[in-house]
Symmetry: C2
Subunit: 292 residues, 2 copies
């Protein structure tokens, strides 16, 4: 199995992962878990792909708002369009203070679109936009070591699910290409959908609970009907999911040279990792390669 984690350095982190997978797959062993119960769930942003300087989906949404405000300049008189047009970094860097504006803006941008029309916009985004600092397409902004880990788990008869706080239908069109994960194994947040004349149409608002924090175990149960045996995350919104798993992996962004170094938004998850003995992945020390 070890040669399947070629982008990982030979550290205790890699050894802990390999040891766990070996234990649960060793038939007759004390920790054997039958394949039907081998479920792995991974957060996406910051766990499987780069989430800085902006969430990829935030970039997608900001571009849409900018295009809308260009088409209809009167939009720039109110938020969130105003901040986008004026490039108001103070407003944009404190998005969580403006949730009602954001939700209304997302509903205005994508409400009424069919799932197919939304997907076409997502595909167009991934085909045309590149990461602003890494000089790669967003479809190449996934972490090579995590891609290898997903493949190792799949080849060990795990079913691997992505469990993102972000938009489910934003990741699905590229999940197979980036991660080898088919779209039916992508869990995430979504606008409520409605059937209209045979078409599935995005409506206003956000389905509750969103797939973050305490919503993650709820979504995982709704979709899978099991707790994860192994889970991976990187931020405070992953704590509840990680707490459900037998083996929890927390990615620590400590590599300013090759990626980004930050703990903001991960304070509680790092504390929980220390308290519960979760396995912390240091990007700087544990990964030989970050991007393929």
């Amino acid at each position: 199995m070890a040669d399947q984690l070629a982008s990982w350095n030979d550290t205790p982190t890699r050894a802990a992962i390999l040891h766990f997978v070996e234990r649960v797959t060793t038939e007759g062993g004390p920790d054997f878990v039958p394949p039907s119960e081998r479920i792995a769930t991974f957060d996406n942003d910051g766990t499987l792909w780069c989430e800085k300087p902006l969430y990829v989906q935030a970039e997608f949404i900001l571009r849409k708002w900018r295009a809308m405000a260009e088409a209809d300049p009167s939009l720039a008189e109110r938020q969130p369009y105003k901040a986008v047009v004026e490039n108001d970094q103070a407003w944009l860097s404190a998005l969580t203070d403006h949730v009602p504006d954001l939700v209304r803006g997302v509903s205005e941008a994508f409400g009424g679109l069919t799932t197919e029309a939304f997907e076409a916009e997502v595909v167009e985004f991934f085909e045309s936009v590149r990461h602003p600092t890494l000089d790669v397409a967003y479809t190449e902004a996934g972490y090579a070591p995590m891609r290898e880990l997903l493949a190792l788990l799949e080849s060990s008869d795990f079913r691997v699910f992505i469990c993102s706080g972000g938009g489910r239908d934003f990741i699905r069109p590229v999940s197979e290409r980036i991660y080898g994960i088919p779209r039916e194994r992508v869990i995430g947040s979504s606008a409520p959908l409605e059937l209209r004349d045979g078409a599935l149409v995005r409506t206003e608002g956000v389905e509750q609970p969103i797939d973050d924090g305490p919503g993650k175990p709820v979504h995982i149960w709704a979709r899978i009907g099991r707790r994860p045996l192994l889970a991976g995350g990187n931020a405070d919104g992953d704590v509840e999911m990680l707490a459900q798993a037998r083996f929890a992996l927390l990615v620590d962004h400590d590599d300013a040279d090759r990626e980004f170094a930050y703990t903001s938004g991960a304070e509680k998850s790092l504390e929980a990792a220390a308290a519960h003995g979760w396995t912390v992945v240091s990007i700087r020390n544990d990964w030989a390669t970050v991007f393929a």
Copy 2:
């Protein structure tokens, strides 16, 4: 493939199914569909297992209400307990006229239970209760020809999902045993769940939309991110799901000797089948064996 449908008579229905599966799996052929897009969805009650004289889940719920009223006789003063205790067939046979009473009764019966505690009650039911007229355990009340069809689809690289108007978490504990379908491929209705101290707890009411009628395509997209290539149903609540599929199969309950004969609740689906050229399965004519 034909020998995989051994419980089917050699009729045009069986030929139509085999022909469709052959067309979409023939590489290089004009109707080839890549495996990633081969999704099949099946209603459960009346499509995969017997739904008469009562939905299996209704039997489960009525038993619980009876036990609650025995433990607390004051419950018998109000519905739905009153009807159960008095065996009021008029009330019980018109359940859809009493939805608020039913929803409140279900919340009182199962609200506050963890998913594990609910599953224990479901398992206990399936281990102890037998079908009232067929003289088999409920776990043997699945249709052998449909079980064979699910296996044929799986061996043709379809991913098969159960998409039930009834309770998702009621079917999951037995889906593997009865149908060979793992629990992560069971879609259905549910009480809203909430995370409390790490446990997933059933709360009051029913998650909207329920997985019936126009809610089925919504649930299927939310869970799978694709439309079904093939779908199977038997009742009016399946029409919207069947209309999404390239190949739609409608089970017609026309065999009073070996199962039950009824069209009540299936009037619109039979009309839609005629209008759209869906393939109708006559239990009497198309199935050599009904139960294994």
